[in-house]
């Protein structure tokens, strides 16, 4: 049987992959001028994918369709509807920003430019595929497309043993989770006889499936996806991996990878098991409550900036789960997407400033003292991003995003969860505000902390000498890392401008989504 492929529906991820391959080729054939061109090609790939996404905005499209059995309606593995497009937009914006964040690392030779861009774009293409997946096999393959390049990205930094360790940890956890997901999917397949969304949903709702098995299969599938989203108790890989990875990669993991996991969970529960919501809503509600509480409590104790953001992202994942726990109706999905869009922008903004600061040796939160006075653009970007994450005015966009999440909880009759969220908002405030006041502290306290910070920054070059004796010529280049590139500042300022604009006119956040 031949399939007619609607290329328009798959154009966006194809653009990304094309950009990825081109970037790799350019790096391979013109290694001298590779960096600028590679980054430019990657960004062009993202922009092309964005245009392809925009072109689809008026009508849902499907691809890879075939009847499951004869005389049955077509079942499609790839469905691009409105929800998918929003996820795509979030993924593309975040990916574009991450590529810009990676540019200085590539330029300094810390990370190979071609491979870096290739891996990021491939992984992002996987994330887009997750959002469009409409059968379980496509979903798992797409999930793996997100994950496999991420392992490599985490460990890609040259002369850095911590990166390797982080990558290994991440890899092992992720592989285990994939195995669990596969087990779950195979049970679902065994119980329903199909992997297609429509088929599973019909079989589950009609009672034709073997009921106890369905529950087990669903739970195992969710467990596997929960690893990606870093839902407690599967969050333990997050802090170490984020800290070990290059900071832009941590930003990528905290946004794109998380969005992929979230989209995956949403697709599984909403498209495959809509009639089974009595089973998955309580599970997700409890998971959301525990995730946000554990994430926030752990973040309270962090001194290390990236570790703090890592735990904060765990907590935010808890908030992101709430609307699904409320039933995953269309308004709930919109709430998730609004929150995810806000989170993507401000979290990348926060990571961009941390990345810029890392280049002058700032590692701990205390090293950021006086940032607002020294480099107002970066300081304000980080401060505003943290306010948005905390959900307090003047970060109105964060507050409005929290409001829609609360609304989902209230409309879903999850009063207890709303109260847990209320407490968590307050806990979150404590560490976000602590960070913000550090930014505002008078800069005269800075020199000491900068001196404290400088040994850790010089650690990189010195260990690089031991690690790679052959590349002595690269040492000056490595030292050049100590100045962050203009693209990092560009990203920081761009996210600041976006967050402020959205705070003045929060309706835009929802209009973009509709």
């Amino acid at each position: 049987m031949t399939q007619v492929v609607d290329w328009g529906a798959v154009a966006a991820p194809v653009c990304l992959v094309a950009g990825a391959v081109l970037a790799l080729l350019i790096d391979a054939f013109w290694p001298r001028r590779a960096v600028g061109l590679t980054v430019a090609v990657s960004v062009a790939g993202v922009v092309a994918a964005g245009i392809a996404t925009l072109a689809l905005r008026h009508s849902p499209r499907v691809a890879f369709c075939q009847p499951v059995r004869l005389e049955e309606p077509m079942s499609c593995s790839w469905v691009v509807d409105h929800i998918t497009l929003v996820w795509w937009a979030v993924v593309l914006v975040a990916t574009g920003l991450v590529v810009l964040l990676l540019a200085p690392l590539a330029a300094s030779g810390d990370m190979p430019p071609g491979e870096t861009c290739f891996l990021v774009l491939c992984s992002a293409a996987g994330a887009m595929a997750v959002a469009a997946a409409h059968d379980l096999i496509t979903l798992v393959v797409a999930m793996e497309t997100v994950s496999l390049p991420s392992f490599a990205l985490v460990g890609l930094r040259r002369r850095d043993r911590r990166g390797g360790e982080a990558a290994l940890k991440f890899f092992i956890v992720s592989v285990v989770s994939t195995a669990i997901t596969l087990l779950g999917i195979s049970i679902v397949y065994g119980a329903t006889g199909t992997v297609a969304a429509g088929g599973v949903a019909a079989s589950v709702s009609s009672g034709a499936a073997i009921q106890p098995l369905i529950g087990v299969g669903l739970m195992l599938t969710l467990v596997g996806l929960g690893f990606k989203l870093a839902v407690v108790p599967f969050q333990m890989w997050v802090p170490d991996t984020y800290v070990g990875a290059p900071i832009p990669v941590a930003a990528y993991l905290s946004v794109v990878s998380k969005v992929a996991g979230l989209a995956g969970i949403a697709i599984v529960v909403v498209r495959f098991f809509p009639t089974y919501s009595d089973t998955w809503t309580p599970v997700l509600a409890v998971a959301a409550a525990i995730t946000m509480t554990v994430g926030n409590l752990a973040a309270l104790r962090q001194r290390h900036a990236v570790r703090l953001l890592a735990w904060s992202s765990v907590a935010q994942a808890g908030f992101l789960l709430v609307p699904l726990a409320a039933g995953g109706h269309s308004t709930d999905i919109r709430a998730i997407q609004a929150y995810a869009a806000m989170y993507a922008v401000v979290n990348i903004g926060a990571f961009s400033v941390v990345a810029a600061a890392a280049s002058w040796g700032a590692v701990d939160v205390s090293d950021f003292a006086g940032l607002v006075r020294r480099t107002p653009a970066l300081g304000l970007a980080l401060g505003f991003a943290l306010l948005c994450l905390a959900g307090l005015p003047p970060g109105v966009v964060g507050l409005v995003a929290k409001v829609v999440i609360f609304r989902s909880a209230v409309d879903g009759h999850l009063g207890w969860l709303a109260v847990v969220m209320a407490v968590n908002v307050a806990i979150g405030l404590v560490y976000y505000l602590r960070f913000i006041t550090t930014l505002l502290r008078p800069p005269e306290e800075l020199p000491s902390s900068a001196r404290e910070g400088s040994p850790s920054s010089s650690e990189g070059p010195s260990s690089s000498l031991e690690g790679s004796g052959s590349s002595a010529a690269e040492v000056p280049q490595t030292l050049a890392v100590t100045r962050s590139g203009p693209t990092v500042e560009l990203v920081a300022v761009a996210t600041l401008v976006a967050a402020v604009a959205l705070s003045v006119w929060p309706a835009a956040l929802f209009q973009i989504l509709s």
């Binding site: 306010l387 307090l392 003047p394 409005v400 209230v410 409309d411 209320a422 929060p506």
Partner: protein, 498 residues
């Protein structure tokens, strides 16, 4: 653009100008005072417009804002909110004037002035918001500036303690406001609107059990801000660590956000549910009255004593609110404004004393203030008398009317219980009198230390005298305010009667 937009835009604009303009901090403060004067004048115009108006919300605006989730830029001012707007504008003006000659010792006056203006904008916004989410945003907007005021300009001897006090204040109020948000969203899901006027019209249609839950959430949520006993624990520390302007705004304006919210949403949105919860609020109110008074008796620090006295006064407001009658509403509104003026004055006095002596401990302050600094002592005597409820001064009417409304509460409420509340509140009045008189004796009378203190300086007279005028004026002519509260009550009583 209505007058209310302007009322919000001016302080916000002022905040931006103060922080951004390349002028000296003194000039920036003058600019801020200029803007605050305009805001004050405008708020008085609004009050007059409300008094002259036919009742209901005046100067309304209604514009699209966050259309996809049904949030509109809805503002309006009525007899309940207008006096509080004037109070906010007045206290802000006084604070800015106080900052003009007396820059904070730790520096950063420009930042402090900016934050004061932001607090003004946020508070006025809360009072005039008619959309629940707009209300919530303004309610939250006040928190961060106040946190910074306490954490950065607070007690210079105790940087860790002031940070802790500020964070405790923030965390408690944020938990409270998040519960308020939950209540708002429940209202929205029941009535399909975030618009207060629409909700008030559809209030009767809300399921009774749900109304009770919403009313209880409002009580706990706003109770953290008021603060109601036993949620008050953040208040004494926050006050004792805050700088003078911080204390004045905290007591005079921020606590009112809580009582205003409770009044507004209990009476307008969920009256039937509120009636069920009201006795508990009344009980907590009288406990706060007695507890606050007893705690005051035990204080060795003047500033902490004034802070605890706020808890007692807010207890009277809570008792008045809990009667669910037009008289109760009028009493609560009056007591709100009176407490803002009187306690603002007390905190200005304590701040002035602290500037001179360096501490607010009774043991350090010494005795004999009448001889050491007669004017200063007179200011304190007037403020303390007003606070303890001496007839002829502002504090009296609020407390008297609160107890009077407890004598005849809403027919749906258990009258016997309220009579007990009234008696206990009466005991609280006696205790309040006791501790203020004791404070006056300890501080002002006697032959104390021989060192003379600098008496009230001209700039202090300028900053303090408006509050003294209000204190005496409201005491002599309470109808100036009761009239407006009456009309509001008449408006609301229709809802209650349903």
């Amino acid at each position: 653009m209505s007058g209310l937009d302007l009322l919000l835009a001016l302080p916000a604009l002022g905040a931006i100008l103060v922080i951004a303009l390349p002028v000296s901090s003194g000039r920036a403060t003058q600019l801020a005072i200029g803007l605050a004067t305009v805001v004050l004048a405008l708020s008085v115009v609004a009050e007059i417009a409300v008094m002259r108006g036919p009742g209901g919300f005046r100067w309304q605006t209604d514009a699209a804002w966050i259309a996809p989730i049904g949030v509109r830029w809805r503002l309006g001012i009525d007899s309940l909110s207008a006096p509080l707007v004037v109070l906010t504008a007045l206290l802000t003006w006084c604070c800015l004037v106080a900052l003009l000659r007396r820059a904070p010792e730790c520096g950063g006056r420009r930042g402090l002035v900016t934050l004061v203006l932001l607090i003004e904008a946020g508070s006025i916004g809360t009072f005039v918001a008619l959309d629940l989410i707009v209300f919530f945003i303004f309610f939250e907007l006040v928190l961060i500036p106040m946190w910074f005021v306490i954490a950065n300009w607070g007690d210079e001897h105790d940087p860790v303690g002031r940070r802790r006090a500020a964070t405790r204040f923030l965390v408690v109020t944020v938990i409270g406001s998040a519960l308020v948000l939950v209540a708002f969203l429940m209202l929205r899901s029941s009535t399909g609107s975030f618009d207060l006027t629409v909700i008030a019209r559809r209030a009767a249609g809300i399921d009774h059990g749900r109304q009770i839950v919403i009313a209880a959430l409002f009580m706990v949520g706003f109770g953290a801000k008021i603060p109601l006993w036993p949620l008050h624990f953040w208040l004494p520390d926050a006050h004792s660590k805050a700088p003078t302007v911080g204390s004045v705004l905290l007591a005079g304006v921020l606590l009112k956000l809580g009582t205003y919210g409770l009044l507004r949403f209990w009476y307008d949105a969920v009256p039937a549910g509120a009636v069920e919860v009201a006795p508990y609020l009344g009980a907590l109110g009288v406990v706060a009255i007695v507890y606050g008074a007893l705690a005051c008796l035990a204080q060795t620090d003047l500033k902490r004593m004034v802070a605890y006295s706020s808890i007692g006064h807010m207890g009277f407001v809570a008792l008045a609110i809990s009667t669910m009658t037009p008289q109760g509403l009028a009493a609560a509104n009056f007591a709100n404004v009176a407490h803002g003026a009187v306690t603002g004055l007390l905190f200005f006095f304590v701040g002035g004393l602290k500037d001179r002596v360096g501490s607010s401990e009774f043991s350090v302050l010494g005795r004999g203030l009448y001889t050491r600094s007669p004017h200063l002592a007179a200011v304190f005597a007037v403020a303390a008398m007003a606070s303890l409820g001496l007839p002829g001064l502002a504090g009296f009417w609020g407390e008297m009317l609160a107890m009077l409304s407890a004598y005849s509460p809403n027919p749906a409420l258990p009258r016997g219980t309220y009579l007990v509340f009234m008696v206990v509140a009466g005991v609280g009045v006696v205790l309040t009198t006791a501790y203020f008189v004791a404070a006056i004796r300890r501080l002002c009378q006697g032959a104390g230390a021989s060192d003379a203190l600098v008496d009230v300086a001209p700039d202090e007279w300028v900053a303090w005298s408006p509050l003294m005028v209000v204190t005496v004026g409201l005491g002599v002519a309470p109808m100036a305010l009761l009239w407006s509260a009456d009309s509001g009550a008449a408006l609301v009583s229709g809802v209650i009667a349903r």
